[in-house]
């Protein structure tokens, strides 16, 4: 009988990337990795995964992981025990609060945290330290949607569900490159288009991959979305689509909103002019919207990351309220969340302008939450939002900061300023997965090893309010611990043991659910009271749940607002009159371009996870800037060259991609590259600190910049099994490759300098192979260890930059064959080249395999034939004896390659 298979079962969990919240099946391989597949039963993705999700298995390695606490001692970070580290954090925060008051400390959290982590951190700061200074990287991502929702609905409510994307007849994507940033949802939209004929309108300054499938693409001028939707509101008001009964009964502010809309865009033509669009395209959009009741308007960072993001959200919601197209199947405004748990963070109130559980800082709510928590010191007012928080850090007003699961030294506007500010803190605590990132290197005093995806246990909420479990399928490595545990331990040290007596994530979740229903009675949208009593086993097995999940309700509604009941004081929705749209900062002769920032398909945030995947690194390995061809020509930029982007806050050097899809006068650069991954590509360092007045969200997509060509004499690449340290003064970008890392580089340093560097980088223990074409300024080297390629460096004139694909392929091979090794430094593939074998005829360079092949296929049967066919043996004849032997051999098996 066979023994039962020892393979563990697949664990159901949730993807840690975007806000779609796809279900993942992770099957541990027993060697610290896992086989990843989409969960066919998860209602968000039904088994599909995007490129990032599918490559999760490549990101589980421990090479870059922080595995034990570290404390700064005498200027250097040194390994420490948990007790010492937690004491340092607890004592530090207690002391600074005591000396300088609660607002002298802050937490900066992340949409990567689980709801349970978020909950305890928020509770500690707002209920026990007594400050509202909890903000999160969701501020950079979702805050304008939150503000827009709260302004219109009285609560941060996403009215619709993903099913609406299947049932809509018109899908409008505003400021969303869903094809790259929410790929699984985008495929759902495309399926609707294909199967039901739904129309797709894409509104974006940039012709992205998403626009490729659009029925109508509107290349809106940066920041002018509001003009377009004001024009739409004006247009709708005069059509059958306008639902005066709904507007009259369930909303207020329509008249003012319409007057303002008319001021901004009295008609389609005016809207077109403001938005920089063709009037006929705008008219077509308005007609489509008007004549299609089932319309979903999805919006994302193009709307949110704006100094007028909240107004943009409002102008979109206005159009849906005016037509009562909200909360019904296939209809509604739909915010696509950027992060896996931005929604969960919003639910616990992990933003400076929220208190907890969708409650804010009214006296009643402060009192209610305080009673529920049995709080020692309730925060009495909103805290500082992200940009203001780091300003306060820089001014020295905030003296202790705890950063969890995010990298503000890269991602915040003026990232350079932020990094400098971090250096001024008395106490910088960083809870991290990785040993090094730009924030860690900004003078962190305490590093705490946090559990990572695959180890963490808790819940996340996706864009459609669906709470899914993230379950562990790997054991905690080293001394890593869950974030909720770390915060709990610190809270206990600060004297709050009773309120932080959690033993598990389930304990935290139950309390979170209980707070959501505490004195609620339908007054608050967020209510998951049905889960407040969930047992540990049931929590472990909990299937995805969409909220609301009110206790005692047999079947909760899955959508909001079709019934016209809103969460404002009077129960009516507010229609908002937006301000005249314009980007906050004007262009100037010095900074004549508008810099748009965003994501690329295969990277996530600052690459600390996706940067580990060779597959993902292959898509767009270098930080780049996209430029319109005419702008490129006028500014001396060429595709494949380099450009320096400069704003008043910083500068970057990026690879140039000339693209017709780019709008004239606009540049696009991805946000992902940090100082860990590139020499000068921290695009956050350029971004203006201008923020939306309501949401505090930075205007990340409209910074005035200048652009100028940068020339390097030489370009090349290196591959290595270990991390390479790059010299100052050269341009470089790191990318994961199978079995190591790759570095693309450009430099003015001569090939001889690189030769010296390569020889020291790859050590004396390796066998070194070199290719030197000094007159052509080409130097290439490869280091071998026992037949395995362990490193290489290729450098040559920039005009003929070496390509790394073939070498990368050889780098993955465990043991190189003779022909492969011979060809490594050619940089070309040796696939399909004959393996001639050892030389038999030296005069004519004829190898043993070639001769045997000729004998095998009967090209030759005698030594004379071999001479005629291959010339072997016909010159000096010294190989004739060997040829005779070969011919006489019975077996003619070619030597293995």
């Amino acid at each position: 009988m066979n023994a039962p298979a020892q393979h563990p079962a697949a664990v159901r969990t949730t993807c840690p990337y975007c806000g779609v919240g796809c279900g993942v099946l992770a099957k541990p391989d027993g060697r610290g990795g896992a086989v990843i597949a989409g969960d066919p039963e998860h209602p968000s993705n039904f088994g599909r995964l995007c490129s990032k999700g599918a490559a999760l298995g490549e990101t589980l390695g421990l090479e870059t992981r922080l595995l034990h606490p570290m404390l700064r001692q005498n200027g250097a970070l040194r390994r420490a025990g948990w007790d010492d580290a937690l004491d340092r954090v607890g004592d530090g925060f207690s002391r600074i609060v005591k000396e300088h008051g609660p607002d002298s400390v802050a937490f900066y959290l992340s949409g990567q945290l689980l709801t349970e982590d978020y909950y305890v951190a928020n509770k500690l700061m707002k209920g026990f330290i007594g400050s509202g200074n909890v903000d999160t990287n969701s501020r950079l991502c979702m805050a304008s949607s939150v503000a827009g929702h709260r302004r219109a609905f009285g609560a941060d409510t996403v009215p619709g569900t993903y099913a609406d994307l299947d049932e809509a007849d018109l899908i409008v994507l505003v400021g969303s490159n869903a094809a790259w940033c929410h790929p699984v949802l985008y495929q759902r939209m495309i399926a609707n288009k294909r199967e039901r004929g739904a129309k797709l309108v894409v509104i974006d300054p940039r012709r992205t991959a998403t626009a490729e499938e659009a029925d109508l693409f509107l290349p809106v001028a940066p920041g002018m979305d509001t003009a377009l939707f004001c024009g739409l509101l004006v247009h709708l008001a005069g059509t059958q689509a306008f639902d005066s009964a709904y507007v009259d009964s369930y909303t207020t502010g329509f008249a003012e909103a319409l007057i303002r809309a008319r001021e901004i865009a009295p008609d389609a033509k005016a809207a077109a002019q403001l938005a920089g669009l063709a009037p006929s395209d705008v008219a077509r959009f308005f007609d489509l919207f008007t004549s299609t009741p089932k319309v979903v308007t999805c919006f994302s960072q193009g709307v949110n990351q704006s100094a007028q993001g909240t107004d943009k959200v409002s102008s979109i919601i206005n159009c849906h309220l005016a037509t009562a197209r909200i909360g019904r199947a296939g209809m509604g405004p739909f915010s696509l969340t950027g992060q896996p748990n931005a929604m969960g963070g919003r639910e616990v109130g992990g933003l400076a302008n929220q208190l907890a559980a969708h409650m804010s800082f009214s006296a009643v709510e402060i009192d209610r939450v305080g009673r529920f928590w049995n709080a020692a010191a309730m925060a009495q007012r909103e805290g500082l939002k992200a940009v203001d928080m780091f300003d306060a850090v820089s001014r020295g007003e905030i003296k202790a900061l705890w950063v969890m699961a995010t990298n503000p030294a890269v991602s915040l506007p003026r990232a350079g300023f932020v990094r400098d500010a971090l250096g001024k803190l008395e106490l910088l605590v960083v809870s991290e997965n990785v040993t090094s990132n730009d924030t860690v290197r900004a003078n962190a005093h305490v590093l705490l090893p946090a559990a990572a995806w695959g180890e963490k246990d808790g819940t996340v909420t996706n864009s459609e309010r669906r709470i899914s479990r993230q379950r562990p399928f790997l054991s905690l490595p080293g001394e890593a611990r869950p974030d909720w545990w770390i915060v709990t331990q610190v809270a206990r040290r600060m004297g709050f043991a009773d309120a932080f007596a959690y033993r598990s994530a389930a304990d935290v979740f139950r309390e979170h659910a209980a707070l959501s229903e505490f004195e609620n009675d339908g007054a608050r949208d967020f209510d998951i009271g049905a889960l407040a009593q969930i047992g540990d086993n049931a929590f472990d097995a909990m299937p995805p749940v969409q909220w609301p999940a009110r206790a005692g309700v047999a079947k909760n509604e899955t959508r909001f607002f079709a019934d016209g009941r809103f969460y404002t004081a009077d129960g009516k929705a507010r229609m908002i009159a937006p301000e005249m749209p314009r980007p906050q900062a004007d262009l100037s002769a010095e900074f004549p371009f508008r810099l748009n920032t965003g994501r690329v398909r295969d990277q996530w945030h600052t690459m600390t996870r996706t940067g580990l995947s060779p597959r993902l690194g292959a898509h767009l390995p270098e930080p780049f800037v996209e430029v319109h061809p005419d702008d490129a020509a006028e500014n001396g930029l060429r595709s494949g060259g380099f450009a320096r982007l400069t704003s008043p806050y910083g500068s970057c050097v990026l690879k140039v991609i000339v693209s017709e899809g780019q709008r004239r006068g606009s540049l696009f650069a991805p946000i992902h590259w940090s100082d860990e991954y590139a020499s000068a590509a921290r695009v956050g360092g350029l971004v203006t600190p201008a923020v939306d007045p309501y949401s505090g969200q930075p205007e990340a997509k409209a910074t005035p910049v200048s652009v100028a060509p940068v020339e390097f004499k030489y370009r090349g690449f290196a591959l290595s099994r270990h991390r390479l340290t790059m010299p100052a003064g050269c341009w470089w970008a790191r990318a994961a490759v199978a079995g190591g890392e790759g570095v693309l580089l450009a430099s003015d340093d001569a090939p001889d300098d690189w030769r010296a560097r390569a020889r020291s980088a790859f050590g004396a223990d390796c066998e070194i192979a070199e290719y030197i074409d000094a007159p052509a300024s080409i130097y290439r080297m490869a280091a071998f260890d026992g037949g395995r390629l362990v490193g290489c460096l290729f450098i040559g004139p920039a005009a003929h930059a070496p390509q790394w694909d073939a070498v990368k392929a050889l780098f993955e091979v465990e043991h190189l064959g003779a022909t492969q090794r011979r060809g490594v430094l050619s940089g070309k593939s040796t696939d399909g080249l004959a393996e001639p074998g050892p030389v038999v005829c030296a005069c004519f360079g004829v190898g043993l395999n070639t001769i045997r092949a000729a004998l095998r296929d009967s090209t030759a049967t005698t030594v004379e034939d071999i001479g005629k066919a291959l010339r072997a043996g016909t010159n000096c004849g010294s190989c004739l004896p060997e040829l005779k032997k070969i011919v006489s051999e019975k077996s003619c098996v070619a030597q293995p390659a």
Binding site: E767, F784, G823, N875, S878
Partner: protein
């Protein structure tokens, strides 16, 4: 002894003096082109059929047998109607009456005469050269002497670290002797290799158990009744019971003197390999073409081919050979061709792999390949020789050239621009 009678009654007598590799190749080439036009007689001093001299060290190393190195069988010579006079020495030529006199007094008439007398080893002008145990390395007789010495003696010294010397040293080592190579210059094979390849060669030779003494100028060979030591001018002394002198060769041109031919370092020939007298030709190591005496088999074969064509009435001219060197030492692949010194105006490309002990240097001039040195990986030597010979423009192949023909030619094909589409009407 009378002249050979060829198959055709109208055949002109063609006499070849020398029964070596050049002669054998000439006969072979002639038989391809002009069967019956000439009645061929070959006069050879060595008492045996022509053999492959290149393989002498392999015989010594017992990698091949004596029989294996015979170039053509007796039957082959017979079948092709060649009168073989081996074991005979030609002593003079009377160009006016067109006759060759042999040592036994016989004379042979000729219509055409080809001198393929080869070369002989240079003997050093130092004391002790006449001692027993001091030999050169030229023919099977020398091999026999060396084999004999190996049976009774242990220590051998080879004077000369060139191609021939190293091959002799290798053969002696394989035959079981402790071998030292004494070389005048500061590196081995300095005329065929650059410094780096020479150094690698030295390492490889030493790894085979052969001692190498560089900068060694022989002062004397000492010994009582037999060679016992080689004394160098700087005072070094190397014990050796057998001393093989392989310090260079000199063209055998004594016979040509009797014919009144012009002689420099060798017998002066023109592009038809004709000497300064009509119908008398010279090929191989005895000939000097455009001031160059070649010491390798390949130029001899090229000359044989051109001369055969010329004698067959075809238009053919010899323009000189690109020197390509292959060292015949088992497991040591060394190749060089053309001008690899890296003279001003040239560009060098180098590829090396320390782990594989390979090294390649290509020297380009004006966008063409001018020279090549290969160590360890000689697979593409011939291709490089051809590129040097034809002077083909390297162009886009430059960066792939050193990685060998297969890769370079494929890359070239892949990079070729697509055929232009015909313009629409």
């Amino acid at each position: 002894m009378t002249g050979g009678i060829g198959p055709g009654t109208m055949s002109e007598p063609l006499v070849i003096i020398g029964n070596g590799m050049a002669a054998a190749r000439l006969v072979e080439e002639l038989n391809k082109r002009s069967l019956g036009r000439y009645a061929i007689a070959v006069i050879g001093e060595e008492p045996r059929l022509a053999y492959n001299r290149v393989l002498l060290s392999s015989v010594l190393a017992r990698e091949v047998s004596r029989g294996d190195i015979e170039l053509k069988t007796a039957a082959w010579w017979r079948k092709h109607g060649v009168t073989l006079l081996y074991g005979h020495r030609a002593v003079s030529i009377d160009a006016d009456i067109r006759r060759v006199r042999l040592a036994n007094g016989a004379t042979l008439p000729f219509a055409k005469l080809v001198l393929a007398t080869g070369s002989r080893a240079i003997r050093l002008n130092v004391p002790g050269m006449d001692l027993p145990g001091v030999i050169t390395f030229r023919d099977l007789g020398d091999v026999a002497s060396m084999e004999q010495a190996a049976k009774t003696h242990k220590r051998a010294a080879v004077i000369g670290g060139g191609l021939l010397g190293l091959e002799a040293a290798y053969g002696l080592a394989k035959a079981g002797m402790d071998v030292s190579v004494i070389h005048l210059m500061d590196r081995l094979m300095e005329r065929q290799l650059d410094a780096r390849a020479s150094a690698m060669l030295k390492d490889t030779v030493e790894a085979k158990g052969i001692a190498v003494h560089l900068n060694g100028e022989t002062a004397a060979i000492k010994g009582d009744r037999r060679a016992g030591q080689v004394l160098l001018k700087d005072g070094r002394s190397i014990d050796a019971d057998l001393v093989v002198v392989a310090a260079g060769i000199r063209a055998n041109s004594d016979l040509a003197v009797t014919a009144g031919l012009d002689i420099n370092r060798g017998i002066a020939v023109d592009d038809h390999l004709q000497s300064t007298k009509a119908d008398i030709y010279a090929i191989g190591e005895c000939a000097e073409h455009r001031g160059v005496c070649y010491g390798l088999v390949e130029p001899a074969y090229e000359q044989a081919r051109v001369l055969a064509a010329h004698l067959a009435g075809e238009k053919a001219a010899y323009a000189g050979s690109v020197l390509a060197t292959n060292l015949k030492v088992s497991g040591v692949n060394v190749f060089s061709a053309g001008d690899f010194t890296g003279a001003p105006g040239t560009e060098s490309i180098v590829l090396s792999d320390r782990g594989l002990a390979t090294y390649k240097k290509l020297v380009l001039k004006d966008g063409r390949l001018a020279g090549a040195v290969l160590f360890g990986d000689t697979l593409d030597g011939l291709w490089y020789s051809e590129l040097i010979r034809t002077g083909a423009a390297i162009g886009a192949m430059r960066s792939d050239l050193i990685f060998g023909r297969a890769l370079a030619e494929r890359s070239l094909a892949e990079a070729a621009p697509p055929q232009p589409k015909p313009l629409a009407a």
